[in-house]
C-alpha cells in the first residue's frame, strides 16, 4: 500500500506563523511562574585574574535580596558537564580565578531583576589581574598559560588523515604534495587568512526559569534551548537525579544558531537556587550580557597553501590552522574544527592536508555557530581556489570544474576517509552560471572597468556534512551518554492518529525557527494522506516527547524527520490492514488520501480515519490478532551523514573612495537532496546567507590585548538587517541521498557555509586590477579602503 497524495515538496505556509506574527507565541520570558524570583550575575571585568575575596555582605543585606551565591555554595555540584571534556571544564561560578571577561563570579537572587542588578552592583570582588593571552599565535607559544593546571594552551591537533587513526586508515597526503611542489611547472599559492570570531546574537537572548517541586521531587524547567533533553540530562546528572526527574520544556525559541546547543552554568544554578529557596528562579540574559555569557563562534587563523599545474589541476592543498577555543570547554568546543576537517577539501578530488590546533585563550569559549567549522573550512579552500585561478589566469569556474569529484565516483571517500553520499557538482555549477548569466556578467564587468568602476564577480562552491549522526561517530564522542541520554545522535518521532481522525506528531527536536511544525506535518501527511491542517506537531517537552537529541548540525529533517516518516509508515501499514478488513480488500490495494483509505481501482469506496481509529481502539471489530491503538514510535540511526552542496555567486561594486561594498546581485543554487517544503528551504538559505553577509562585511568580536570585548553591544557589533542585504536569487538542483528513505540532506547551515567566501571573492575580484590579493573579514569600508591604499603603494 502507498499514499496517492504527497505533501512532500509542497509550499505550505508555516503553521508556526499565525501565533508568532500575532505576538501569541510563548517564549520563556512570557511564561510566568507563581512566586518566581530573578537572578543576576556579577561578571568579571578582567580576562585573567585571581580572586582574592568576594564581599557579598552589602548585597545580602539589601531589601528584596534572597540569596547571594558564590562557588563555595555550589562547588559540591562539580564543574559544568560538557559533552567533549577536553581542556578545562568550566566551574559553575568562578573558583578563585576568572579566565575571561564576563565569567560569572557570583549569583544574586532577588524579588525582581532590578533589585538583583542593584545587588550585583553592591558586591565587591577583589581581583588581582594577571596577564591575559588573546592572540592565537601568542597563546599557542605557551608564553602565557591560560590555566596553570593544563600542560599547554594547545589542547590537541586534528589532522586530516589521522583524526581517527585507529579506526579509519587514510594515506598521509604530504609526500604526494611535496612531490608536486618539486615539479618544474608547479604553481604554489599561499595566504594567511583570519576567519574572525563572531557573536551569535540570537534575537531572543538565553532565558531559563526553573522550579524544584519537592512534592513531585522533580525540577520543572523552561529554557530557551535547542537541546531540551540534553539540558534535562545535565541537570539530572548534576543533582544526582534520574533523568526523568527533570521536566524541561523549550517553548518558542527565538533563534539559536548553535549557541543554545550548550548547557550553561546559569541553567544549572537557577535549579540550585530554586531547590534552596523553594521558589521558582528565573534568569534571562540582557542583550549586552549575552555577548559575554553565551558562547561565540569561529576564530581561526590559518595558512593555506595550494599547489597546482599551470592549466588548473590542483595537486595539493594544505591548511594549517590555529583555532580559538576560548577559556573553557563546553558542549562541542574542540569538536568544531573536526567538522571543518571533514569538508576541508570541499567538492574536490585532490590531495589535501589539514591540521587544526585547538588553542585556549582568555576569551569566552567558542562552540557551534551556524555552520560550525564548515564555514571556516570552506572559506579557506574556496578563497585559495580563487587565488590560484587568478595566479594561472584561468576562469575560477573552470578551475573548480576541473577538480570536482565526478558523478561516477560517489560515494566518494574524501581526504578524511569519510564517504560523501551523493553529488552532482557540475550540473549544480552549470545551473548557477546559467542563472547568473556568467558570461554576461563578465562582459558587464569588463565594460564597467573600462569606465573606472570596480565591479567584482565572486564564485564559491561548498560541500557540507550534516545530518548527525551516524552511530559510529559516538565512538569519538558524538553522543550524550554522559548526560544519561542516547549514546548516539539518533532521531525519534512519534505519530498518533487520534480517534477523531486528526493526527499528532511528537518529536524530540528543539527547533528555533526552522519550521518543524510545518515540515513534520508534511512528512506525516505524505504517508497518511491526512491533510496538514489536521496534523499538529509538538516538540521540546521532555516529559511528552520521545527521547531526542535536539536541533543542530542541520540534522533534524534527515534524522528525526526520517524517524517520524518511519513511525508514520508503521501507523499507515496498520491502518491499511484495518481498512482492508473493513472494505474486504487486500492491504496492498489500500491507498491513503483525502483523509481516508481507498481501494485502488474502486472509486467511491472510502473508509475514514475516524472509522479506522474506531476499530483500532476496539480490535474485536478488526482483523484477527489486531493490536489495539493507532500510534507508533520510531528511532532512526543513520548509516552515514548527509553531504549537501551548492554554488553561489555574488556581484558587488566597491566605491574606491570610501571602500564601501554594495551588492548588485546574489545568486545561489543549493542542493539539499529532496525538498520537503521549498519555501522553508528558501527561508533557511536566506537566513544562512544573511549570516554569511554579516561575517563577510560587518561582524567581529573584537578583543583588545587585555581580553576586553570591544564590540560587545549592537552599537559596535553590527548585524545585518533586511536593508543591508541583496535580493537573493535562488534555485536548486536535487541530488537525493540514499542515507535515508526520504532522500533529504539538510539545509539549515548551507547558506552560511556557502556565502562569506563568495562575497570576499567578489570584493577581491573587484579590486584585482589594483593588485589586491586578499582582505581579511569583516570587509568593513575602512579595511577595503586600506587595502586599496596599500595596493596602490
Amino acid at each position: 500500500m502507498s499514499t496517492t497524495t504527497s505533501a512532500l515538496g509542497g509550499v505550505i505556509r508555516r503553521k508556526e506563523d499565525p501565533a508568532l506574527i500575532r505576538g501569541r507565541g510563548r517564549y520563556v520570558d512570557d511564561i510566568k511562574r507563581t512566586g518566581e524570583l530573578a537572578a543576576a550575575f556579577v561578571r568579571s571585568p578582567f580576562a585573567n585574574a585571581r580572586i582574592n575575596s568576594i564581599d557579598v555582605s552589602a548585597a545580602t543585606a539589601m531589601a528584596g535580596v534572597h540569596a547571594v551565591y558564590t562557588i563555595d555554595d555550589v562547588r559540591h555540584l562539580g564543574p559544568l558537564i560538557a559533552q567533549v571534556p577536553v581542556g578545562k571544564l568550566r566551574p559553575l561560578l568562578a573558583d578563585g580565578a576568572v579566565k575571561h571577561v564576563g565569567e560569572a563570579v557570583a549569583m544574586v537572587v532577588a524579588d525582581n531583576r532590578y533589585i538583583a542588578q542593584d545587588a550585583v552592583d553592591a558586591i565587591f570582588v577583589d581581583y588581582e589581574p594577571l596577564e591575559a593571552v588573546v592572540d592565537l599565535k601568542d597563546a599557542a607559544s605557551d608564553r602565557v598559560k591560560v590555566h596553570d593546571d593544563l600542560d599547554s594552551n594547545v589542547l590537541l591537533a586534528w589532522v586530516g588523515h589521522e583524526w581517527w587513526a585507529d579506526v579509519i586508515a587514510v594515506e598521509d597526503p604530504r609526500p604526494k604534495i611535496e612531490e608536486a611542489k618539486q615539479r618544474d611547472d608547479a604553481v604554489i599559492v599561499e595566504l594567511e587568512m583570519v576567519n574572525q570570531r563572531l557573536i551569535p546574537v540570537a534575537i531572543e537572548p538565553r532565558s531559563v526559569v526553573a522550579s524544584w517541586n519537592e512534592g513531585y521531587e522533580r525540577f520543572e524547567v523552561y529554557s530557551s534551548s535547542q537541546i531540551p533533553h540534553a539540558l534535562g540530562g545535565a541537570i539530572a546528572k548534576t543533582f544526582g537525579l534520574a533523568s526523568n526527574a527533570v521536566h524541561v520544556r523549550a517553548p518558542e525559541v527565538g533563534g539559536g544558531f548553535g549557541c543554545k546547543l550548550n548547557v550553561y552554568p546559569d541553567e544549572i544554578l537557577v535549579c540550585f537556587a530554586s531547590m534552596r529557596l523553594h521558589r521558582p528562579v528565573r534568569f534571562t540574559e540582557t542583550r549586552r550580557e549575552s555577548a559575554v555569557s553565551t558562547i561565540q563562534g569561529r576564530g581561526w587563523v590559518a595558512t593555506a597553501t595550494l599547489t597546482g599545474t599551470p592549466d588548473g589541476r590542483i595537486l595539493g592543498y594544505e591548511l594549517r590552522a590555529l583555532t580559538d577555543m576560548g577559556a573553557y570547554s563546553q558542549n562541542f568546543t574542540v569538536a568544531i574544527p573536526l567538522l571543518g576537517l571533514w569538508v576541508s577539501a570541499g567538492q574536490y578530488d585532490i590531495p589535501a592536508y589539514f591540521e587544526a590546533k585547538c588553542v585556549v585563550t582568555n576569551t569566552q569559549t567558542t562552540d557551534a555557530y551556524r555552520g560550525a567549522g564548515r564555514p571556516e573550512a570552506l572559506y579557506y579552500i574556496e578563497r585559495m581556489i580563487d587565488a590560484y585561478a587568478r595566479e594561472i589566469g584561468m576562469d575560477p569556474a573552470e578551475v573548480r570544474r576541473k577538480n570536482y569529484w565526478k558523478n561516477d565516483q560517489f560515494p566518494a571517500v574524501n581526504n578524511t576517509g569519510l564517504a560523501i553520499d551523493s553529488g552532482d557538482y557540475e550540473t549544480n555549477l552549470d545551473k548557477l552560471l546559467e542563472m547568473a548569466d556568467y558570461e554576461g556578467l563578465k562582459r558587464m564587468q569588463a565594460e564597467a572597468r573600462a569606465e573606472g568602476r570596480y565591479i567584482g564577480i565572486g564564485l564559491s562552491t561548498y560541500l557540507e556534512i550534516c545530518g548527525f549522526g551516524p552511530s559510529v561517530l559516538s565512538e569519538i564522542g558524538f553522543g550524550w551518554n554522559n548526560y544519561g541520554l542516547p549514546s548516539s545522535f539518533s532521531g525519534s518521532g512519534l505519530v498518533r492518529v487520534n480517534p477523531d481522525g486528526s493526527a499528532t506528531v511528537i518529536i524530540g527536536t528543539g527547533p528555533s525557527g526552522q519550521g518543524h511544525e510545518t515540515t513534520w506535518a508534511q512528512i506525516a501527511s505524505s504517508v497518511l494522506g491526512i491533510t496538514t491542517d489536521k496534523i499538529r506537531v509538538s516538540h521540546g517537552d521532555t516529559a511528552e516527547s520521545p527521547m531526542g537529541v535536539g536541533t543542530f548540525g542541520s540534522r533534524s529533517a534527515a534524522v528525526d524527520g526520517t524517524a517520524t516518516y518511519e513511525a508514520a509508515v508503521k501507523v499507515r501499514d496498520k491502518a491499511a490492514e484495518i481498512a482492508a478488513h473493513l472494505m474486504e480488500a487486500a492491504p496492498e490495494d489500500i491507498r491513503f488520501a483525502d483523509g481516508g483509505a481507498h481501494v485502488v481501482g474502486t472509486p467511491g469506496r472510502v473508509v475514514t480515519w475516524e472509522e479506522i481509529a474506531d476499530v483500532a481502539y476496539r480490535p474485536h471489530r478488526g482483523p484477527d490478532g489486531l493490536d489495539a491503538g493507532l500510534e507508533a514510535h520510531a528511532v532512526f540511526s543513520p548509516g552515514n551523514a548527509t553531504w549537501p552542496f551548492g554554488s553561489h555567486i555574488a556581484v558587488v561594486e566597491v566605491d574606491p573612495e570610501t571602500g564601501n561594498v554594495e551588492f548588485l546581485r546574489y545568486i545561489g543554487i543549493d542542493d539539499c537532496g529532496n525538498v520537503i517544503n521549498p519555501m522553508i528551504v528558501d527561508g533557511q538559505v536566506h537566513g544562512g546567507i544573511a549570516q554569511g553577509v554579516g561575517q563577510a562585511l560587518f561582524e567581529e568580536a573584537i578583543y583588545d590585548d587585555a581580553g576586553n570585548l570591544l564590540s560587545g553591544s549592537l552599537i559596535d557589533y553590527p548585524i545585518p538587517t533586511a536593508g543591508d542585504l541583496p535580493s537573493f536569487e535562488l534555485g536548486r538542483t536535487v541530488t537525493p541521498t540514499d542515507v535515508n528513505p526520504m532522500g533529504v540532506k539538510g539545509i539549515g547551515e548551507a547558506g552560511t557555509i556557502g556565502s562569506a567566501q563568495t562575497i570576499v571573492n567578489a570584493v577581491v575580484d573587484a579590486l584585482a586590477p589594483l593588485g589586491v590579493k586578499h582582505i581579511d573579514m569583516p570587509l568593513r569600508p575602512r579595511k577595503v579602503w586600506q587595502a586599496i591604499q596599500d595596493a596602490r603603494g
Binding site: 542593584d118 552592583d121 542583550r287 562585511l697 536593508g723 543591508d724 569600508p781 586600506q786
Partner: protein
Amino acid sequence: MYPREFDYVAPASLDEALDALAANPGAKVMSGGMSLLPLMKMRLFSPEMVVDIGRIPGLDDITDQEDHIAIGALVRHHQTATSALVAEHAAALAEAAAYTGDNQVRRRGTTCGSLAHADIAADQPAGALAAGATMVAASKNGKREIAAADFFVDTLTSALEPDEILVGIRIPKTGGGSAYDKLGRRGGHSDYAVAGAAAWVRKSNGTVEDARIALTGVGTKPMLAAGSMEAFIGSDGSAAAIAAAADRATEGVTVLEDLYGSEAYKAHLARVFVARALEQALARA
C-alpha cells in the same frame, strides 16, 4: 538592561515641565527616549528623575514662519525626513533625518533630541549646522536662542543647561541649496556615521556668495569645517574649488579613531564627503 530606580513625570504643559526640571537638579528630559533609555539601561547614566516631555501639546509640528521654518521639540526624525518645508529650506537636514537609524527609530526619535544628545557621530547635527539653525531653549527664567555653531560643545555635550528644554529650532529661509552624505557604520547610509558632511551653498553671479559646511563622526563633536568654508566662499564653485575646499576639511579638527576608522581614513572620508555634499548642494542651489 535594568536601569537604577528613578522617578518619572510626564507633565501636560511646558511650564510644569520646566518647574519639574528647576525643582530637581538630578532630572533629565526625555523626548523619544531612543538614546536616553539605552544609556540608563546600561547604567552608564542614572538620572534621579525623567521628565517625559512627550505629552506637552504644540511641540510636534513643522511650521512655516515667513522668514524661517520652525521644528518643534517633538517632531520625529520621520517628519523631518519627509516634510516638504524641510526639503525646500534645509534639504541637508531632511537627508540627515532620513539616514538616521531605522524606521522604528525614525518614528520615535526626535530631531531636537538628536541635537540635544550631541553624539559625535549623529547625522542631524551636521544638517542643522549647515542649515544655520537657531536653537530655542526654555527654562523657568525664560527663553534664549543659541546659534547652531555654538550649540555643540563637546562629546555628548550641548550648550543646554540642565534646567533647559530645547523647545524647537528655527531654520532661516536663506535660499541656496544643501545636501548631506555619509558613510554609515554598516556601509552605505546605514547606521551612525563613520564620517559624514553637510553643506549649504548660495551662489550669485557665478560666485559662491555664502556657504556652510559641517562634519560629523570625524572629531570630538559635530562641527563646522572652517577651513573648507573659508576656501569655498568666494570661489567659483568649480570642481577645482570643491577639491580645494575638501582638502581643508579637517583643518583644525582633532580627528578621532574608533572601531570604524583610523585617523587617516576618517580624515580622508571627511574630504570625500565634503566634496560630495558640496557637489550635491551646488546642484540644488
